[in-house]
């Protein structure tokens, strides 16, 4: 079981990077959707939120992967 724990520890930054991509898109879309519902500006905030979420998510993903690689190589 401790081998599995070590593997999880090693893989965790990469798993987290993929999750941050998914979470950014989901959070952007949801925030835009509910803001639209509240303000009655369908569909503009939804579109803006999803584009913003995607951009932020891809940026966060690439940055997390680069940082994880740097950390792995420096060990």
């Amino acid at each position: 079981m401790s081998g599995f724990a070590r593997a999880m520890r090693e893989a965790e930054p990469y798993i987290q990077a993929s999750w941050s991509l998914a979470a950014a898109v989901a959070l952007g879309v949801l925030a835009g959707y509910f803001a639209d519902k509240k303000l009655g500006t369908t569909p503009w905030l939804l579109l803006a939120g999803s584009v913003l979420g995607m951009a932020l998510g891809v940026y966060a993903f690439i940055r997390a992967i680069l940082m994880a690689e740097r950390k792995r190589l420096s060990r």
């Binding site: 079981m1 401790s2 724990a5 999880m8 520890r9 965790e12 798993i15 987290q16 999750w19 941050s20 979470a23 950014a24 989901a26 959070l27 932020l56 998510g57 940026y59 966060a60 940055r63 997390a64």
Partner: protein, 293 residues
């Protein structure tokens, strides 16, 4: 021996359900089983007699708004697992002795595992013991809630996204607390952006770093929730195959019961594994927050 008994029990349950179920209400029946509700139902699988308990409605007035605090099926089973954990672990801990025996030895194995394998290795030995009570509580609560869904009449409280969000937010609070304890409140929030980043990137970096704080509980939430829901849906669809393919003949039933039994044992393993992974990742996040680079 228990496997055979369980398979026989499943067969009886299927025969009993077969008197009422038709192929076209299989998906509805499955999603009704996984979904939350305002009732707690018990059904005799042989006679088909049902007992339904309607849960009370608790409405609270705060300011001008009405907040619905009514318990639901999942709430009831979450409370049940809480009571089982509190009563079971305290009773086990009362009878402690140098040579562990009975239920106490089981609890001790898990606590020792959480402390030495998860907390010490992820947080570091000098800081870990402060967080072990939180991690062990999380482990026992998630494990009990997962396993409650696998006993007859049980409902999986962790197959409700609100429950897993609550658990993940608790982890997030402890992670932030660990970060603020290690660096000081001001130091933690000022060093949220890593050093060496040019100043013009700050408007972009601050949302990304805040997103990083939010994605950790998001990952924990969805992982536990999806695993518990998916396992139960697979289990019920394998049993529902009997009714969906009833035109083919009666030969489907033994195959699908065999597969469902297999998936049931996989689910027992997944219940343990998901509790382990949730606690391990919590310990990892706490460790990352309390050892800033």
């Amino acid at each position: 021996m228990t496997r055979i008994a369980l398979a026989m029990g499943l067969c009886v349950a299927i025969l009993g359900a077969g008197q009422t179920a038709r192929a076209d209400d299989v998906p509805e029946a499955i999603f009704a089983h996984v979904a939350d509700g305002k009732t707690v139902d018990f059904e005799n699988p042989i006679t088909g007699a049902t007992a339904t308990f309607h849960l009370p409605e608790w409405k609270v007035q705060v300011g001008g708004a009405t907040i619905d605090l009514s318990p639901t099926r999942h709430t009831v089973y979450l409370w049940l697992s809480m009571v089982i954990v509190i009563v079971g672990v305290s009773l086990a801990a009362r009878k402690r002795s140098l040579v562990p025996r009975g239920f106490y030895s089981v609890v001790e194995v898990f606590v020792k595992f959480v402390r030495e394998e998860l907390a010490w290795k992820n947080i570091g030995r000098e800081k870990a013991d402060f967080y072990v009570p939180f991690l062990a509580t999380l482990f026992f609560l998630i494990l009990t809630a997962n396993l409650l869904g696998l006993i007859p009449y049980g409902v999986t409280a962790t197959a409700n996204i609100n429950v897993t969000v609550g658990l993940a937010l608790a982890t997030m609070c402890v992670t932030l607390f660990a970060g603020m304890k290690a660096q000081g409140v001001a130091g933690f929030w000022l060093h949220i952006v890593p050093t060496g980043v040019p100043l013009w990137l700050y408007p972009l970096m601050i949302p990304v770093e805040l997103l990083g704080i939010l994605t950790k509980p998001f990952a924990l939430t969805v992982r536990l929730f999806a695993n518990m829901v998916a396992g139960h849906i697979v289990l019920f669809f394998l049993l529902g195959l009997i009714f969906l393919l009833s035109s083919v003949g009666p030969y489907i039933a033994p195959v699908s019961v065999a597969f469902a039994t297999g998936i049931y044992f996989l689910e027992l393993f997944v219940a343990l594994l998901q509790a382990y992974i949730f606690v391990m990742l919590s310990a990892l996040f706490i460790g990352m927050a309390s050892h800033p680079h």
